[in-house]
């Protein structure tokens, strides 16, 4: 057979196989989301009905809209999501600043003990947060920095402070990963850039802000996205350090069915919970859609691996 034709056939058949695989896998990922959404449109009867799959039998837009409004009210949605937004935004901006600065230090300077110190960064990733949560809780409950601050110690539980303090010092949840990403990026920048800035008389701070930071924006978007999303989703640290603090969205989702009468059926609970989950996910999806361009680009350009 002609070689060219053979190659062409090969290419086409591979493209077909690849298409099927990718579409199938994408479907598997999106499927649970679709199911969740479809469930929110149903009534209790539809859940029993095995013939109902996607579109419920008694569908009416006004009923669904009412249902969504009711659930949003029971979640205290507006208030809780604004709280969560403010909270996650504040924490993730702090984490972004501290991790970029620390990553810059690890990526551009050769000082003694750098290897060991960077090993410690990775070490913070490996230790399960459950292990240090109790001592941390007690420290923030009776906060005096191990006797360094005067007085009997402040109660910081239920405020932003535990999160801000750990975020600003690069020891918040999974911050080791962000430091790692930033370091890999700064390590890959050419030395000449920096040297020419120094020769032109720029100080270290100026070099950092005018030369290094602009190039690091895509990587900063990645760090911000991860940090924001994980903060938004987190219930471990928030439930420990925010006890009695302001209502956040994950909590109101967690206690959503508690807002209803105790006698509601399992089917109704399912519908309510699914609606809550969709409402919980929507802000994340919006942010992801806005930032995905930078996100995907930055993987293509510099890559996390560097």
């Amino acid at each position: 057979m002609n070689l060219v034709i053979k190659k062409r056939l090969n290419d086409i058949s591979w493209a077909a196989v690849r298409g099927v695989l990718i579409i199938g896998l994408c479907f598997l990922i999106v499927y649970p989301l679709f199911i969740k959404f479809a469930t929110t449109l149903m009534t209790e009867k539809d859940i029993f009905d095995r013939t109902v799959r996607w579109v419920p039998r008694n569908f009416s837009i006004s009923r669904v809209a009412n249902h969504y409004l009711e659930v949003a009210q029971n979640m205290n949605y507006l208030r809780a999501s604004l709280n969560s937004l403010l909270f996650s935004l504040a924490i993730s901006v702090c984490q972004l600043i501290s991790c970029t600065v620390i990553g810059y230090g690890f990526g551009r300077f050769d000082f003694k003990g750098k290897g060991i110190l960077f090993g410690l960064v990775i070490f913070t990733l490996v230790v399960p947060p459950q292990m240090i949560a109790i001592p941390l809780f007690l420290n923030f409950r009776y906060f005096d920095l191990y006797g360094l601050l005067p007085g009997d110690g402040f109660n910081l539980i239920g405020t932003f402070w535990p999160f801000l303090l750990t975020a600003l010092t690069g020891t918040g949840s999974r911050n080791g990963l962000f430091i790692y990403i930033a370091r890999q990026h700064f390590r890959g920048m050419p030395r000449a850039l920096e040297e020419s800035a120094y020769i032109d008389g720029a100080g270290q701070l100026r070099t950092f802000f005018t030369i290094m930071l602009p190039g690091a924006i895509p990587i900063m978007v990645v760090i911000f996205l991860f940090s924001f999303v994980w903060q938004w989703n987190d219930i471990f640290f928030t439930s420990v350090f925010m006890r009695g603090g302001m209502p956040l969205l994950p909590f109101s989702l967690q206690h959503l069915t508690g807002q209803y009468h105790w006698s509601i059926s399992e089917e109704f609970k399912t519908i309510v919970n699914n609606t809550g989950m969709i409402l919980f996910i929507i802000p994340l999806l919006l942010i992801y859609v806005f930032l995905q361009r930078y996100f995907i680009e930055s993987i293509e350009r510099t890559g996390i691996v560097g």
């Binding site: 459950q130 001592p135 270290q204 994950p250 699914n274 809550g276």
Partner: protein
Amino acid sequence: MKKNFFKLSLKQKQNYAGYLWISPFIIGFIFFFLAPMIQSFLFSVSELKFTPDGYELNFVGMQNFVYAVTVDPNFNQYFTETILGVLVNIPAVIMFSFFVASLLNQKFKGRTVARIIFFLPVILTAGVLHQLEVEDLMHLTMQDEGSVMLSAAMVRDFLLDMSLPQVLIDYVILAAGNIPQLIEYSAIPILIFLAGLQSIPSHLYECATIEGATGWETFWKITFPLVSPLFLTNIIFIIVYSFTAPGNTLVDYIYSLTWGRGIFGVSVAMSLMYFLAISIILVVVGLIVERNVFYME
């Protein structure tokens, strides 16, 4: 030996500034990491009591550890289950994510859309969602369908007829029944692999094509060795991630002991043992993989 600071070269002075840049981390590490770690060691060998103006510790020796292993009804079972579960997951997640990353690395129409969808699980892994899904009727029926569809005896018999080893078949079917979890765990490894694949210089592939290498050879001689350091990164990531991921049985159990029933000493002892187990697994796996990894430098 001590040099006068003013006699150092500009380069050396600048390198000292490195300490300044990373100083936030040093402070944070000491106060919010090292100190709590030491405290948690102390807590694990004592009994914690709250007093009106703080808390006090009474030394009780190894009692907490003994309690966790011999008296507590669930710890041993959850402990072994969790660790075995993670070990079983590693190869499946690694193979799956490498495969998907290679797919996404090729040029085809709609590649951007496919990538957006594949990274979606990164933003959808929330502890609350896991908690609610446990009692969700629709989710339960969905899982049923999945296992019925994939563990069908027919597929198994078919694979057995091909005289493949039974262990392998059981493993594949187990992994296939677990695809939703597999996808969730794979999102970040896919990202890391993809970044690695993109950083391979294209002239290597050109060279190989000119020399007449087939796709199969190119894969094993160029792609695989150059990406192999990332296998280490990813394996470590998966171990760490799945040991602390929301929905992990043991982690949830320890949490309920601490904040639900207020048993502090025992739960710290449990997390300490858990941490030791993770560390041992990390070191062993890390050493094994490290030996077979190829570095270009």
